[in-house]
Symmetry: C2
Subunit: 370 residues, 2 copies
């Protein structure tokens, strides 16, 4: 894949860095490759040497006086034979720098760290940070679908190990490997859906609907706002949705392509009552900042309306967020105390394969009437 | 945590980059901060602008003529109040660059990518690449144990979501969250260990031994070469090993702190026969290069000796490797055809929480005698 490859190599020396000695040791590695040096020396902050090659590669050696030496090497590489050679050349440059630094520091307690190269500006984006803000690289090798709907950007990317992954506006939603997500948001196998009335909010990937239909409900109604999510998943997430999205109605299910708020309001007015409401709309908002207040209000509204259409002995299932986002999850749990009726809840922590972080799921039910 | 923070921001413009226009738009962002520019222009490869601040930060703007603009900003930050301000300052620099690039490219199909900052040279290392070579950041917040034994480097690091993680010579071995690993390498709950003779090769974290002892075997023998792994895990991986490592012998188990090869040879000579052999020594070697031949030979030797001490109707369990490493796994499966007796095998793919990749486990058994 044509892209800039950014290699890094760091040395923590375990003692002060002698800038001149480090540069004297490393300079020949760059000179051998015809890379020209520019040097900046700070009075109190060490130095920065920049090296440029004739072919457009460049490197930085940053020497921090307390004992960190960081190397960055960035090269643009395509897919040709010369590019494979260039990649090998870059790896060997790092090998040489590493060897010389180890040699220079052979009696010290130094640590070396070399990360897999960052791939920058390629046609396939492999970096989809976790909900708790960590940098993670996926094994994505192809863009299967990439469209903007009126509501969001919809990507379906192919991962070697997880199958196709649905990514909505940059958030990893679900991969074909993630049956455990669907299982968890349906109550982890502890519920009997046969003959029941089920309402699914969102869920455009069809995973929940597909599993529930197998369990012979009386009627499962799914309300998904975005036709393009349904269309993309019908075509490219078939391990998740099976054939359930091939038609918007079936023996025991219907899909309404609508905003769920007016639907919920209508159902509440009509006095409809469901055995199960499954909210697959969105994770708990990460931010607790005032700007996110509207998101929290939306979330409370959905929760409140959902409780209004839920039978007294019904259950409401939803995802929370990454288990590390304790503040956001607490705030969510506080919201549960502010609904029109008193509720109780339980939570479960689940490992969803493609998420690369542990995820919290909630079960909410109406408190028994005295 | 005091460390260099390396921020990146990339723009894929969707068309050729006009270097002068990009620089003219971005230059004021750096000038406002008193960062001095050095410029390198290639005849055919675009340009590189380097900016240095008085406080030791530096930035690179690399403009590739086909339409990639990459920004790198590296600053050393501690934990003081001024450092928090400096972090905000760096974030706002990226915000401004992003805004100006979007403005410059407002009619184009451009894409912008901003990753979580790389933390370089900190006391706590959060980057432990997957077996298939991807860059992943863990939520590690403390070094619990870090020692070199005669055999390997042993680290136990604390992850907020996974609990303590055992890392041997840079490889993530097991976290306290990873009961599913232990479950899988014991046959995924399908075996009856009661009254059985079990041999565990490696397994110094005590996870397998702890689970097997609960199932009342006749005798479980664990052979682990590294006393320091046992000591570290006894102290810091108690969610994994319980109290089973508090003593090296118990009612129905013993731990031999020895190299397993001579032990296996001795058992084979003595005609010992186990119901289960569980090999928790090492993953399948990733590399299939000739330099790794000795690792493969070691692996074949272990396999062969294990089969010699396995009852005719016994089972051998082991981990394979990341499901993506298809070549290495195939080579491993070929080895299974080269043992002293014919064997059959099955495999299972499991999601081990802290691995951040799907993992293959093998069950091997002797072919029924005709």
């Amino acid at each position: 894949m044509a892209a800039a490859r950014h290699r890094t190599l760091d040395f923590l020396l375990g003692g002060p860095a002698r800038g001149e000695a480090v540069l004297a040791a490393l300079r020949p590695v760059f000179q051998e490759r015809g890379m020209a040096e520019s040097l900046h020396i700070w009075p109190d902050h060490g130095c920065l040497a920049t090296y440029v090659s004739a072919h457009g590669s460049f490197a930085n050696v940053r020497i921090y006086p307390h004992g960190l030496v960081s190397l960055d090497l960035q090269s643009y590489e395509g897919e040709g034979e010369g590019d494979a050679q260039a990649q090998e050349g870059d790896d060997s440059l790092l090998d040489q720098v590493e060897a010389r630094m180890k040699d220079l520091n052979r009696d010290g307690p130094g640590k070396v760290k070399r990360l897999p190269p960052l791939v920058r500006g390629g046609a396939v984006d492999r970096y989809w940070p976790t909900a708790d803000g960590r940098l993670v690289e996926y094994d994505i090798d192809a863009v299967v679908y990439d469209e903007d709907s009126p509501y969001q950007n919809i990507k379906i990317l192919h991962s070697k190990q997880y199958g196709n992954i649905l990514i909505l506006s940059g958030d990893v939603n679900l991969a074909e490997s993630d049956w455990v997500y669907t299982h968890a948001i349906m109550g982890s196998g502890k519920e009997d859906y046969a003959g029941k009335d089920v309402l699914i909010l969102g869920g455009g990937d069809g995973g929940i609907l597909c599993e529930i239909v197998k369990l012979k409900p009386k009627m499962a109604t799914m309300v998904e706002i975005d036709q393009m999510v349904i269309d993309g998943c019908r075509k490219y997430m078939r391990k998740t949705c099976g054939d359930v999205l091939d038609s918007l109605t079936g023996d025991c299910y219907q899909v309404l392509v609508e905003d769920c708020i007016p639907v919920l309001k209508r159902y509440a007015e009509e006095g409809r009552a469901f055995d199960y409401v499954i909210n697959d709309l969105t994770a708990v908002p990460i931010s607790t900042s005032p700007e996110q207040e509207s998101t929290w209000e939306f979330l409370r509204l959905i929760l409140d309306l959902s409780m209004r259409v839920l039978k007294q002995d019904g259950k409401y299932f939803t995802q929370g967020n990454c288990v590390n986002l304790t503040e956001a999850l607490s705030l969510y749990e506080q919201q549960l105390g502010c609904l029109y009726c008193p509720v109780e809840f339980s939570k479960e922590v689940v490992c969803v394969p493609s998420y690369l972080e542990l995820w919290v799921f909630y079960t909410v039910w109406k408190k028994a009437q005295p």
